[in-house]
């Protein structure tokens, strides 16, 4: 396969957030086919979420530049998953605005089903527990949403599914049901399923936490490739190596807030907040 590489420098965003330069590699065939969806960023402003008296998110804001990888770390219960799930409206925040993929969502604004489906197909999501449909083969798992959401014919969908299965290295598993696949394979199929809808943003909610460390590597490899392709990604993770190597921005959440964000290397070597220091020590010195 022929690769060619070019450099893109994203401008500093207007709130002064520095976005580092990174390499973006695409395969020639992908550019020719126009398969890479237009890149879009995400703007979340003043997001709050409560369940009764229990606050989960307290006035959280985050801007993500297109084509960048953001790693979201922090202790459990910090609100990382809830925050991520607000982006594709699996959770509806109580207040704050979300701007993603050309959609603006404000509290009280009624999002009709068509817009919701459009938004969700633009934002792919990968779960900790894979959540493949157990009654469908790997291929059907990937084709079914394409047919239902994008209106592709079975042939079109299956052709795309096959491409993606090949890309995640699981072409031979096309006709197997998820029950016959290992955790790592299931998660790669789940990634292929999300990619099949040509999303411009991918959300990962602890994608390797349910996998043993060795198997997790094959999932991380797929994610690294995706990042190299220029996908906008937000990854909730405890994989510090991945966060350091792959992400452009590290966001630390604790107690329902973002307590620190910036260059991953800088935060890891010199955290400014005591809470960040405590958390990093716990994960890094394990």
């Amino acid at each position: 396969m022929y690769h060619f590489t070019y450099h893109v420098t994203w401008p500093t965003s207007n709130d002064g957030l520095l976005v580092p330069t990174r390499k973006i590699a695409m395969t020639l065939s992908e550019i020719a086919d126009g398969k890479l969806a237009p890149r879009t960023g995400i703007k979340l402003d003043n997001i709050s979420k409560r369940y009764g008296d229990h606050t989960v998110l307290d006035d959280v804001s985050l801007h993500v530049e297109p084509g960048t990888v953001t790693a979201l770390i922090g202790p459990s219960g910090a609100g990382k998953s809830t925050f991520l799930r607000c982006i594709n409206l699996l959770e509806r925040p109580d207040s704050g605005t979300i701007q993603v993929a050309g959609h603006t969502i404000e509290p009280g604004k009624v999002v009709n089903n068509k817009d919701l489906a459009a938004l969700r197909s633009t934002v792919g999501m990968v779960f900790q527990s894979f959540n493949l449909f157990p009654h469908m083969s790997a291929m059907k798992n990937i084709s079914f949403p394409q047919q239902k959401v994008l209106g592709r014919t079975k042939e079109e969908a299956d052709a795309r599914s096959m491409e993606l299965l090949e890309r995640v290295g699981l072409k031979d598993k096309a006709n197997q049901h998820p029950g016959r696949c290992s955790g790592g394979q299931q998660q790669r199929i789940a990634i292929a399923r999300a990619l099949a809808l040509d999303p411009s943003i991918m959300l990962f909610d602890e994608p390797t936490s349910a996998l043993d460390p060795e198997v997790g590597l094959e999932v991380l490899a797929v994610m690294r490739e995706l990042a190299a392709d220029g996908m906008t990604m937000i990854v909730v993770t405890h994989e510090m190596q991945f966060a350091r190597d792959v992400s452009d921005m590290l966001v630390v959440m604790a107690d329902c807030k973002i307590i620190e964000q910036g260059d991953p290397g800088a935060i890891m070597s010199d955290p400014q907040e005591a809470r960040t220091r405590r958390f990093l020590r716990a994960v890094l010195e394990r």
Binding site: F127, L132, F144, K148, R180
Partner: protein, 214 residues
Amino acid sequence: MDALSAVLQGLPMTIVLTLSAFAIGLVGAVPLAVGLSSSNLIIRLASRLFVDLVRGVPIIVWLFLLKFGIQIGTFKFNPVAAAIVGLGVVSIAYLAEIYRGGLQAVPRGQGEAAHALGLTRGTTFYGVMVPQAFRIVSPSIATYLTGLLKDSSIASTIIVAEMVFQSQSFARQHPTVEGILPYILVGILYIALSLPVAYLSRRLDSRMRKAVYA
């Protein structure tokens, strides 16, 4: 064998009653199961009330109420219609409860994944939730069907000429030892009818298991 031919005369009616009520139940229970797990409190309570009311009263009482208690204008239920409606409504209530349990047993992540992919609520329900719930509940449904087959004998009390009714009339006409014969035969027939249901259910179950893990 007079006794056997008497009992066999009731066989078609037993099958008609059982299958009609079962069909009503299978279809009618779908909206009720959705109602039982609705997020709308009023719909949920109304569905719950219906299920508990129907299940709380013995079938024989429902059949008597339908047959002798309902007259709308000049319309009255004939015995067969009353039996089918009665057994059908009871099936709706029981099967709805079975469906609800099955839908709840489908892992939460399945619905979330479907929503995250942008699938509509309808597609999520019929394409993702129902097929999985069906696998979970198919043995319970088969058990219910064999139960229903036997419960259809209650229709004999409102003069529906099914197998038990035929046995009774034969026994009445032969007040000797011979009178017990149709009851033995009818017992054997009920067993014979349940066996294929149980067999098919097991085969279906193992086939679906293979489909999931193949």
